[in-house]
Symmetry: C2
Subunit: 414 residues, 2 copies
């Protein structure tokens, strides 16, 4: 895309009430816009990143048999009363209770909704197991949202729900999801620790969190540098300085971290409440055994920025970058312009995602913007490069002078 046509521009300033690195950098670079505390729009560049993260999640969910669907944000009081969560989620749930109209709430999770729907289709052991997920917008009344897009009041969540005949069957799938989650975070450029969780709004037992160590986090974990054992710091099991309970080395540390995903064995809590039973092979009625698994793509995006940045801006991992290549034209001679334009046209034809900075700006401005935007590779065409291209890696800063052909070979999708 031509940078001169981009809807957004970078900005050197950011409003003083943004304290997190992700909110500051993403705002300055024009990736997001704050509508109000804890509520952000994704602008075109930011939305490109967001959709890449969504697609990585989608691919890994499909790979473990997940069927994508889309449930509703508007939900009836009646639905939530089945589990008594209409009352118990008083603090978190946005509700409309208008005179003369049936009360409505905005869903902050979908166990109730999915269990009711599953009842339409699951009757027999032959209908199990089943795995469904969605990438859907949830709402939570977070009074102190202050971590940029890491904790917001409106956010897309990938929530997967699984339905099983036995705990053993659930256990097998639970491990598959754990592996899929680690693949997702790795593809997004994050190293996540699998942490024994201390619970939350859900059941305290049988849940794991995926934590990424960064100072922006709101969580604290105790983790082993040697074997990757990790637990929530609130758990009274091991402390920094102790020997690791798993590998017995004394590499146990603690640190601020962000929870980028979580997985819960729900057991029969929701199936009992909704009478979601199946007939087993002996003809006996049994409650379906369930689990739920969440990842917030926006939270992942914010965490990526917290982990991958330097004083000049963002450094996107290649898999989630808004563009693969930032092509920069410096100079006004017809010859140089033609070299850059021909190259851009060729890159476009080859489906190599390229942002082409053909603006009438100084080299300094263009380089500053490029560093802030954080596209992994910067390719400069100028008088100085003499028909070649100066390719710079945003992460390492390493520069090489290469020919058009070498550039195309490097970026061509195999």
């Amino acid at each position: 895309m031509l940078q001169s046509q981009l809807f957004t521009k970078t900005s050197r300033h950011v409003s003083g009430d943004e304290t997190s690195i992700n909110a500051k950098l993403l705002t300055q670079a024009g990736y997001i816009d704050k509508q109000m505390a804890g509520v952000y729009s994704y602008l075109p560049l930011g939305w490109r990143v967001f959709r890449k993260i969504e697609q990585i999640i989608r691919e890994e969910m499909n790979d473990i048999g997940g069927q994508e669907m889309e449930m509703t944000a508007l939900q009836s009081k009646e639905l939530w009363e089945t589990t008594s969560r209409w009352e118990t989620s008083e603090q978190i749930m946005y509700k409309f209770e208008e005179k003369g109209a049936a009360p409505i709430g905005l869903a902050w999770t979908h166990e109730e909704a999915v269990t009711r729907i599953a009842k339409r289709f699951i009757n027999s052991y032959r209908d199990l197991p089943r795995y469904v997920y969605q990438l859907q917008t949830k709402f939570r009344n977070e009074p102190r949202a202050k971590s940029g897009i890491i904790r917001t009041r409106e956010f897309v969540m990938k929530d997967l729900y699984s339905f099983h005949t036995t705990e053993a069957d659930l256990d097998v799938y639970y491990e598959q999801v754990k592996e899929a989650y680690l693949k997702i975070f790795k593809r997004c450029g994050l190293e996540a620790l699998v942490v024994e969780a201390s619970g939350g709004a859900f059941t305290k037992k049988y849940s794991h969190e995926f934590q990424v160590l960064t100072e922006a986090g709101e969580d604290y974990v105790v983790y082993c540098e040697a074997c990757k054992y990790a637990q929530n710091k609130d758990l009274d099991k091991a402390k920094a300085g102790d020997n690791c309970p798993q590998c017995q080395t004394n590499k146990l540390k603690d640190g601020k971290s962000v929870e980028v995903g979580n997985i819960f064995k729900l057991g029969t809590k929701f199936s009992e409440a909704f009478k979601l039973y199946f007939t087993d092979e002996q003809g006996k009625q049994q409650p379906v055994i369930m689990a739920s698994y969440g990842i917030g793509p926006g939270r992942v995006m914010g965490t990526i920025v917290e982990v991958h940045n330097d004083k000049d801006g963002i450094i996107w991992p290649e898999n989630v970058a808004p563009f693969q290549l930032h092509l920069i034209l410096l100079g006004e001679s017809a010859e140089i312009k033609k070299q850059a334009e021909d190259l851009y046209k060729y890159l476009k034809d080859q489906n190599i995602e390229t942002l082409f900075d053909e603006r009438d700006e100084s080299a300094g401005t263009k380089f500053k913007d490029a560093d802030l935007l954080g596209i992994p590779w910067r390719a400069v065409v100028s008088e100085k490069t003499k028909g070649k291209i100066e390719l710079r890696n945003r992460l390492t800063g390493k520069i090489e002078l290469i020919s058009n052909k070498e550039l195309l070979n490097k970026f061509s999708v195999q």
Copy 2:
């Protein structure tokens, strides 16, 4: 996908409060689930159709320079007071006015939000024109939602906003969008009339609706069978029986119709309210000229079902069908099973979207389900087909006996 693993099943029954054809058929076929009046979840098959419609819209929007973004549903009272629409949208807008907290509303349209954001980036004639769009969930308090997924309280809308220096520039783009819209509807299997609109919540002037004739519609249009001239029936211009004001023939009819899209010239209404000005080439401040353009993919999907069905079920146009091919195995011999399974595997490897009905059900049940689901092509492998495949077109009912190779040639993506 294996039909035995599908999350949903078809159903012969549908609750009595569904009166529209689209809600009945989509519910029976397991494409949607009603959470409450006017609020529907999209189940896996339905979500496949929905996402295909979204993708068609996305491609056509990108083709006319649209940059995709995603704005928020939660919006502040303050934002909407800028245009006085906090008060005037009392009936339609869901609002939370909690004690001690700033009032929040759920956006039912995004002119306010996008104009405020545009102010961050548009200052000069050099920053114009700009085109941004989103596929985003909106909320409207519709007390009498009764047309299935055609009119709902929660729905995704594709809303495009354009920003221009002059009316002449807007006019050119407005025509481009009109063409793009007609392409979208055509690709979705709908024939839409471009209708002079009689207005609504927006400005009365300079707007057009895209109407599809069907008995399920809530709108009425006067249209010419000869030249496709059309106007809203409320407009006091022409009546059925009159000569057509465009081609002068007496082919003017009127009919129930569904509004599947609309386009509005907003002028400077929103830019004046938000002080979205640009500096022109003479250095003078001018208000930006705007337009907005909407399509609801869910409404399009509902309309497709209203138009394309018969007594046995849905008949999806190929571009939006959840699968291209419904492969049906009849018979229990190892040989027939192997033929069907090998064929399915091959189709999968070739990325031909196939639903494989390998369930242990009767031919009658399988055929009834296939007709209800409405996948455009049904391929039966059975003892009777003697190593060949019986291919049936859902629309025409035409049956042909073909070889594996002929089938693969027919469906291979070029």
